[in-house]
């Protein structure tokens, strides 16, 4: 619940003015609805009394009837304005929520980002954000508006009709609402949570069943796996039935409360008339206004049903948003002496806490201007070494020094300035080729972009397909696998780093192109820049000044 409040504060923070106006208009809509029915009831009854008394000619029909028409039109106009204002503010806050999410995620540790690439987890986060989209529109505004309108209406009933009627309405609606809320809180939360997990299980198990259908069939387990999918489905249905039962029960309680309160208002009005306290037209106001008030509670009832799922979604989303802001860069001297190694690994180990580390006691010094190829079997830890040097992973033991300072003392921005890394898989964004390169260097001119493209042997391809304005589709689609990899390489080269880390840069290229690209990389490097690459190709080993064999950690 506190998570939900924090999200609500975030959403309301900057749009409070339009939301407030929207809420006031919503109150106006509700109030006009109550007043319309109340006034109509009074008008008819009073007219009837006047008609019977033969006083029809002196009865002022025009002001009430004009009031009725004004309320009808005003209500419609207020409704339109309210919708525009609140949707405007909501859409803005939706964008804001997504921006905060992106900002927070961009600060999370790299392994977490890698995990987010798997579609399912990301989808789950986005589903949560979608759930929260309704928070303002379907929960906060209706709640605030209904509370205000109800309070106003109660005061009006108190003054216009009788305090006893106002007290009855307050007691009735209050008891009904609290009972409904308690029912939802006690009986719908747990099944709603169960439904959420069952739905995830259903999704994942279906994915497994379909993606591995050949294997399940060969293993004779198709039936079994299908039964597992269906058992998740049955759990989902049961949980949904439970939630629905609780929600319908709370709806039933509210409906009965509404009926009893309206019926009671009628009876109280009649009794007050018989006692001579009020006249029949005033009693009619009481009854009709109470009827209209019941309609105010409808949106709240619907909102309550979403309270549970929203609270859960808010909890998960706040967890995502709770990433501390990065420390500000502190200026420090970090120039390596000319005779010193630019990068040095000193007995560096890394592991995820398994029985055996991924990397154990790795040492290597790289002098300025050096090109070193890491060789070794797949799984020996070559990529891990590059990721450690790029600051994406933290060594479990040992130290990595960069320019004479331990890696841990570098801030992200400083590190990115001096170190560029091309991982094994990289992702491009939709946009032009120029946009893709400018991502890495916003100030770069077209000439420099072309020379980068020629360095990665992409210039002819791009020139033939519309030059730098060539548009890439979502995630860089439109280029072949090898082409987009080379574009990512050009983007990395545009950083002009002192330390360039490349993970199998010529993977998937034919021999001739591989040679072209490697000499292009060399041309683009800064003088005295260092290149460390993970390779399993002869061309890359020939390109390097020296090779360093990485052996997988020995058995324990």
């Amino acid at each position: 619940m506190s998570a939900l409040l924090r999200i609500a504060r975030r959403l309301l923070a900057e749009e409070w003015w339009s939301l407030l106006r929207g809420t006031l208009l919503a109150v106006a809509v509700l109030a006009a609805g109550v007043a319309l029915l109340g006034l109509s009831g009074w008008f008819i009854t009073a007219a009837g009394v006047a008609g019977l008394a033969g006083a029809g000619l002196v009865f002022d029909v025009f002001r009430p009837s004009a009031g009725v028409r004004f309320l009808a039109l005003g209500r419609t106009a207020a409704r339109y304005g309210e919708r525009m204002l609140t949707h405007d503010a909501t859409l803005k806050s939706l964008a804001r929520l997504r921006v905060s999410l992106l900002t927070a995620l961009s600060r999370s540790p790299f392994p977490r980002l890698a995990a987010l690439r798997a579609g399912e987890q990301l989808n789950r986060i986005l589903r949560d954000v979608d759930t929260l989209d309704g928070l303002v529109l379907r929960l906060i505004i209706p709640f605030a508006a209904a509370t205000l309108a109800l309070t106003g209406a109660l005061v009006a009933l108190w003054l216009l009709v009788d305090p006893r009627l106002a007290a009855w309405v307050l007691a009735g609606f209050g008891t009904g609402s609290i009972a409904a809320l308690v029912i939802v809180a006690l009986r719908a939360r747990r099944p709603a949570r169960l439904a959420f997990s069952a739905q995830n299980a259903l999704r994942l198990r279906t994915m497994d069943l379909i993606a591995g259908r050949g294997e399940w069939l060969v293993a004779g387990q198709t039936d079994l796996r299908k039964a597992r999918v269906l058992s998740a489905e049955a759990r989902l249905q049961d949980a949904n039935t439970e939630t629905d039962k609780a929600e319908r029960l709370s709806g039933l309680v509210m409906s009965i409360a509404e009926t009893v309160v309206s019926g009671g208002a009628l009876l109280i009005g009649a009794w007050l008339v018989i006692e001579g306290v009020i006249d029949p037209a005033i009693a009619a106001i009481g009854f009709f206004a109470t009827l209209a008030l019941a309609e105010i509670l409808g949106p709240i009832r619907r909102g309550l049903a979403e309270l549970g799922p929203m609270t859960d979604a808010a909890r998960r989303v706040t967890r995502m948003l709770d990433v501390p802001a990065p420390l500000p860069a502190t200026p420090k001297t970090r120039t390596a002496r000319a005779d010193e190694a630019l990068v040095s690994f000193d007995r560096v180990s890394f592991g995820y806490g398994g029985e055996r580390p991924i990397l154990d006691g790795f040492s290597l010094d790289l002098a300025p201007g050096e090109i070193v190829a890491l060789t070794g079997a797949s799984g020996a830890g070559k990529s891990t070494i590059l990721m450690l040097a790029a600051g994406m992973l933290e060594a479990t033991r040992g130290t990595i020094m960069l320019g004479g300072l331990p890696l841990g003392e570098w801030t992200d921005t400083e590190l990115r300035h001096d170190v560029a890394f091309l991982p094994q898989r990289s992702t491009l964004l939709a946009g032009s080729i120029r946009d893709a390169i400018r991502m890495a260097d916003p100030g770069i001119d077209d000439g420099a972009i072309w020379s980068l493209l020629s360095a990665v042997a992409l210039d002819e391809t791009i020139a033939a397909r519309g030059g730098l304005d060539m548009r890439l589709g979502e995630a860089g689609s439109g280029l072949s696998g090898g082409e987009s990899r080379r574009l990512a390489l050009a983007r990395t080269l545009a950083r002009r780093p002192r330390l360039l880390l490349l993970d199998e840069p010529t993977e998937g290229l034919d021999r001739e192109t591989a040679h072209k690209v490697l000499s292009g990389i060399h041309r683009q490097m800064l003088e005295n820049g260092v290149i460390l690459l993970a390779s399993h190709r002869a061309a890359e080993r020939e390109f390097a000044h020296r090779c360093h064999h990485v052996a997988a950690p020995a058995s324990v």
């Binding site: 008819i44 309320l71 269906l230 249905q237 009628l266 592991g351 398994g354 797949s378 799984g379 990395t492």
Partner: protein, 576 residues
């Protein structure tokens, strides 16, 4: 990604083009047909619940009439308000009951659809045309089919009420005053007319709006996926700024669209408010005597006037409910169209049912004049071969010559066009396939790890293997170093978490998986593709170790070093 309902629930969206609309309607009807009786009963219950209001209105009108004209009497008032409350409680109870029936029926409907969809798609051959990705089928099964629930539980009951309740109220009002009935008649049917007019603009509007909210999520997703790269090139701040700007652009466009879309719901509000207002004014004026027409023989009394006024809002309520539920129908229709597309797509089944079967005769394999047609329509003829127990066979040839499909034919994962695979003492068909496959273990080219522990994944072809057995198998496949590095050992969930394994490691795990089983025939598809020499060597040795244990081995490969280690080879493509 579906747009949040909050943005679209007040928007009229008459759906897509004519033909797909028809298909959607047919499919939705087909879907709900088995539950038609229950659904109809529930719809009648909500109609009756709504009609009870007429009785409540009459009771309340009598009380007020009594106050104005008769001798006011507490007993009468008590009697009238008791009837009002009793009918109200009955009304609430009927709605409650109707809701529980429709939900149960709707759940039965989608359960049936999920069952059907999965039963079919789980047996679709991996080579079949028209197959959707597992993510698409999962989204359809878990999320989209559930979107038809509101159609059944909200839209259809609302439709039933909209058909009957306004007409009934009109009929009730008519005997009191033809003007009152006329006011309702004019204001009521005008609603659909105006809504259709505005709806035409709103339809396009709502589609664009949905697309734009979808594209905001699309942009976000693309950027989150690329965050690692963006951070490595120090572009996250710029990206966030750009994202904020495009979100603002999107927002401005969306608001223009909504300005039109809200008009249609405003029209509805307008007519229902003006209908109530007109009724109040007319009744008021006739009670005073300033209007003397409209009623039949005798002038309108107070009770009758109050009764008519109370009926007016409920005349419009079903129409408003229907408008609010309009989006449910559009959503269900979209799901029905997609379901229809999946079901009418070309379908080629795998052989057998994939249920547990008893072990048949000892494994012997022969193929005779096998022919297979590729999804692109090309015919592939395979040379005949026999394979005795413990032999190994390399299937070689350039890519696209049908190496993988030969393995699939042997495993019964795709039916042969002509010719036959002889297994044990019969031909491979729907009846023998499940039994035959108990002899087989697969080493696929791109391993699929289910979302469960490594232990469960390794037990694929050996459900009862013990941990000790698994460790022995990993040793035999020289894959125990992989296990040693994983943070939670056999309990590690691969794929879903960041603790992935590389391509070569996954291949070695697949070989270990084959070791766990006691399968007599191992089918390996390109086991050394994309691996460096060292890893390829380790994989080859692992395969030979399997053969040493007595298994027959069929390896589809274009790795000549691997092919050379097999007893025999058949060459596809140019060789035949």
């Amino acid at each position: 990604m579906t747009p949040p309902a909050s943005m679209t629930d007040d928007v009229t969206d008459p759906g897509t083009t004519q033909t797909s609309e028809d298909r959607a309607r047919l499919r939705l009807n087909l879907m709900s047909a088995p539950e038609a009786t229950r659904l109809r009963r529930a719809e009648w219950l909500t109609v009756i619940a709504s009609l009870l209001w007429i009785g409540q209105a009459a009771a309340a009108a009598m009380v007020i009439d009594d106050l104005v004209s008769g001798q006011p009497d507490v007993t009468n008032a008590l009697y009238g308000s008791s009837v009002f409350v009793l009918l109200g409680v009955l009304r609430a109870a009927l709605s409650h009951r109707s809701g529980s029936i429709t939900l149960a029926a709707a759940q039965a409907v989608i359960s049936r659809e999920r069952n059907r969809l999965l039963a079919r798609e789980a047996l679709r051959s991996p080579f079949s045309e028209g197959g959707r990705s597992s993510a698409e089928i999962a989204a359809l099964t878990a999320d989209k089919l559930a979107m038809t629930i509101p159609y059944l539980t909200r839209y259809r009951p609302a439709m039933a009420r909209a058909r009957i309740v306004p007409a009934a109220i009109l009929l009730v009002a008519l005997p009191f005053s033809w003007i009152a009935a006329f006011i309702l008649l004019i204001a009521g049917p005008l609603i659909p007319v105006f809504m259709a007019l505005v709806g035409m603009a709103a339809q396009d509007a709502s589609e664009r709006q949905m697309k734009e909210i979808g594209s905001m999520n699309g942009l976000l997703m693309e950027r989150i996926r690329a965050l690692t790269d963006l951070r490595l090139i120090d572009a996250t701040d710029r990206t966030i700024r750009d994202f904020r700007r495009s979100a603002e652009r999107l927002h401005r466009r969306t608001m223009k669209v909504l300005a039109v879309a809200f008009l249609s719901s405003t029209v509805l509000e307008f007519f229902s408010a003006i209908g109530v207002a007109l009724m109040a004014v007319y009744v008021g004026f006739s009670l005073i005597g300033q209007i003397n027409f409209g009623a039949w023989a005798k002038p309108l009394g107070v009770g009758e006037g109050v009764f008519l006024l109370l009926l007016a809002p409920d005349f419009f309520q079903p129409l408003r409910d229907l408008a609010a539920a309009w989006h449910d129908k559009a959503q269900a229709a979209a799901v029905a169209v997609e379901l229809d597309a999946v079901e009418t797509a070309p379908f080629e089944p795998m052989l057998g049912k994939g249920s547990a079967a008893t072990l048949p005769a000892p494994p012997q394999l022969a193929t005779r004049s096998l022919r297979w047609i590729t999804p692109s329509g090309q015919t592939i003829s395979y040379p005949d071969f026999d394979l005795a127990a413990g032999q190994s066979l390399a299937v070689v040839g350039p890519s696209g010559t049908g190496k993988s499909s030969l393995l699939a034919l042997i495993a019964g994962l795709t039916p042969a066009e002509t010719g036959a695979v002889f297994v044990g003492d019969g031909t491979l068909d729907d009846d023998t396939a499940d039994g035959w496959r108990r002899h087989i273990a697969l080493i696929p080219q791109s391993p699929h790890f289910a979302h469960e522990s490594l232990r469960a994944n390794l037990r694929r072809f050996a459900a009862e293997a013990s941990d000790a057995g698994l460790r022995a198998a990993l040793n035999a496949a020289s894959a125990s170093d992989i296990l040693a590095r994983l943070p939670r050992g056999l309990d590690t969930r691969l794929g879903e978490t960041g603790h992935g394994v590389s391509g070569g490691e996954a291949r070695r795990l697949m070989i270990a998986r084959a070791f766990c089983s006691s399968a007599a025939i191992i089918l390996a598809d390109e086991p050394t593709a994309d691996l460096d020499a060292e890893t390829a060597h380790a994989v080859t040795e692992g395969l030979l170790a399997l053969k040493m244990r007595g298994a027959s081995l069929i390896v589809a490969t274009h790795d000549l070093a691997l092919a050379a280690r097999m007893d025999r080879r058949i060459v596809l493509g140019d060789g035949t």
